[in-house]
Amino acid sequence: MNTQGQIVKVGIADMNIAKAPDKIRTSGLGSCVGVVLYDERSTIVGMVHVMLPDSSLGRTEVVNIAKFADTGIPAMVEQLKIEGILPFKLKAKIAGGAQMFQFSSTKDAMRIGPRNVEAVKEYLKKYSIPIIAEDTGGNSGRTIEFDPTTKLLNIRTVNQGVRNI
């Protein structure tokens, strides 16, 4: 096979699955958290772009399950199960959860980045999915791209360059 592969895009509050040689990417993560779920022995991976920690914060009926950590992670685990990947084999890499603006107020709404990270970790723990690598917090936006072949998560920032975790 001599295919270059495409890039599968994941929007805000969105999720998707990619199969090698394709890669999967989400752009401009700020306070949102990008969660990659994968199995070492498979080249099928899932990515969720989590915007809010908890769907009970939503004041309307949940339409978009990918938006929340507590609904997005279980939904992705299910989707990967359909693809033949068993939940106990899953591993995670996560990035995002920055605080884009420095306010003097410490109101909860302003701390949305750290709260998203906490919620993501809590739900990964519920499924006993180990976090293999993370790049969270700080105050930089991130674009992340996961390669299902190498299992590397490429993280690009404006001010701190590029790195792989």
């Binding site: 993560l29 700020g30 978009n64 884009m100 003097s104 674009t143």
Partner: protein
């Protein structure tokens, strides 16, 4: 409120708000920089979060973004977004330092402070015009500055709204900088994102229901 009852009259009212607000802000900017600033006809659109990023040039576009929350009779978020190259030029002009650059490691404090003040003045003129026009009480928070990817910056302002919706009504006014030698299409944007429950107040204040 959000999805079903918005008519073309409502959209016109929102456009007028963008018009009045941004006109005052553009005048303030023009005075500050002693430069001609053109303003586009405001657009009022209901867009998905991803489309919102595209309005500002795509999620990875590097911008200088000023963000503030609005409290009072109307609540919401406001952004003033400038492509970083344009922000650099504005600030160089303001602080008379040709070497200033937001994209170097050590950004000079005076430049950052000037950008914050620019945001302060522009958002202040936008919102006070809006307040005068509608007789609504509007209290802006102190503007915060971030130079980063537009997706990362704007998604923060969508957090509040994302609790109730996957769409956002955005009042978008673009500004152009006219230069005799190189005609530019680079644009800055004012984005006003009223919280869903605030539309009622805006329409009521202007006699539209």
């Amino acid at each position: 409120m959000y999805d079903n009852k918005i008519t073309s009259v409502h959209l016109d009212v929102l456009k007028e708000i963008g018009n009045i607000g941004a006109a005052h802000a553009a005048t303030a900017l023009s005075t500050l920089l002693n430069k001609k600033i053109d303003m586009k006809v405001p657009k009022v659109e209901m867009v998905s979060f991803d489309e919102m990023m595209d309005l500002a040039g795509g999620p990875e576009r590097v911008v200088a973004g000023i963000y503030l929350r609005i409290e009072g009779d109307v609540t919401g978020s406001m952004f003033f977004v400038l492509p970083v190259e344009q922000a650099n030029r504005f600030i160089r002009r303001l602080i008379q330092d040709e070497s200033f650059d937001f994209q170097t490691g050590e950004v000079s404090e005076i430049g950052v402070s000037a950008m914050q003040e620019l945001g302060n003045i522009l958002s202040g003129s936008y919102l006070s015009a809006l307040s005068d026009f509608t007789s609504l009480k509007i209290y802006p928070t102190v503007p915060a500055l971030s130079v980063d990817m537009v997706g990362a910056i704007i998604s923060f302002g969508l957090v509040e709204l994302s609790h109730v919706s996957d769409y956002v009504i955005v009042i978008d006014t673009a500004i152009n900088e006219k230069d005799v030698r190189n005609v530019e299409s680079v644009k800055g944007h004012f984005f006003l994102l009223p919280d869903p429950e605030s539309f009622e107040a805006i329409f009521k204040a202007l006699g539209v229901s």
